[in-house]
């Protein structure tokens, strides 16, 4: 006996993601799902962004890591609300983990929420958590072939932040090739070239955020 089912295997996640999305809308929060491979500079970008914007925007952060609280401690030092999620082995954040973490964030007091995903160029791109936008970080030292090796994240992201541009003179990496490969996968991708260490290019990114938040 055949029974037609026609159901999305990830529908449980999608349903919770939709609930999160509605909650963000109700609370007038822009939520950004920040993704990258390990060590590309997600937390450094958050620290720099919070330092630049915290007088203008109230920001909250959810930190996703397999284990440990180092990232949350770095954010906590900036005096913004932060929740650490430890996935205990899981390779990505899912919508249910975010729903739980949201209980700990003062949603009435923030207008911008960063969700820092687990460092991984593959799985985080496959799971919506209810975010308004996915943004990804690629660092110069990872190489210009990464867009074509990990296409999904580049296709899913609205923004690509190329970090550690101060390392360019010490590598054989071709910046134009990174951009060309990324845009060939996602022609609408918005690209920022920055160095969190020197601060170069950061105002372009923070101006983009303030424009998006209409402040």
């Amino acid at each position: 006996m055949k029974v037609k089912v026609v159901r999305r295997i990830l529908e449980a996640n999608e349903k919770i993601a939709e609930e999160n999305r509605k909650l963000f809308e109700e609370k007038e929060i822009i939520a950004i799902n920040l993704m990258s491979g390990p060590g590309a500079g997600k937390t450094s970008l958050l620290v720099r962004t919070i330092e630049a914007l915290k007088d203008k925007v109230s920001i909250g952060v959810i930190e996703g890591d397999i284990t440990g609280t180092d990232d949350a401690e770095r954010i906590n030092a900036l005096d913004v609300p932060v929740v650490q999620i430890n996935t205990e082995g899981a390779c990505h954040l899912d919508a249910d983990m975010i729903r739980e973490a949201l209980d700990e964030i003062p949603l009435n007091d923030i207008s911008l929420l960063f969700i820092e995903n687990v460092g991984n160029l593959v799985c985080p791109a496959e799971f919506n958590v209810g975010e308004n936008m996915k943004a990804m970080v690629l660092s110069i030292s990872e190489g210009d072939d990464k867009p074509l090796k990990y296409p999904l994240m580049f296709q899913e992201s609205g923004v690509l932040i190329i970090n550690k541009t101060d390392l360019l003179p010490y590598t054989d990496v071709d910046m134009e090739k990174i951009k060309k490969n990324a845009l060939s996968l996602n022609p609408g991708l918005r690209i920022f070239e920055i160095s969190c260490r020197t601060g170069t290019g950061l105002p372009d990114w923070t101006n983009y955020l303030t424009t998006m938040l209409a402040i």
Partner: protein
């Protein structure tokens, strides 16, 4: 990378649907798996064979249909399929303004039950 949790979701959905239709045993589950869904069918089958033990799907096989990557090009108004896992340009006109419309499916289509 997370085939075990995907296999568990498939098993949960199939068992729920089987019981809802008042049947006792699952013989097979038919799936549509997109080529860029991030799921390796071989790993999924391996995971499913382990987690199905001692459930009403113990004897069940997964039947996987792989869905190719499909794009649409607004410049030449063409729908196209690619053999590779990537679309880098419209194969017809070489244009870069394509959209990707298929290849990320992860769906249960049908279950066979007794």
């Amino acid at each position: 990378m997370h085939e075990v949790s995907i296999a568990q979701s498939i098993l949960d959905i199939a068992i729920t649907e089987c019981r809802k239709a008042d049947y006792k045993r699952i013989n097979s589950i038919s799936l549509r798996i997109g080529k860029v869904s991030g799921i390796k069918i071989q790993s999924l089958l391996f995971a499913f064979d382990i987690i199905k033990i001692d459930t009403i799907a113990q004897g069940a096989a997964l039947i996987c249909e792989e869905v190719p990557v499909v794009g649409y090009c607004p410049e030449c108004h063409d729908n196209f399929e690619v053999v590779s896992e990537l679309i880098l340009a419209c194969p017809e006109c070489g244009g870069a303004r394509f959209s990707i419309n298929g290849g990320r499916e992860l769906d249960i289509v049908e279950i066979d039950v007794d």
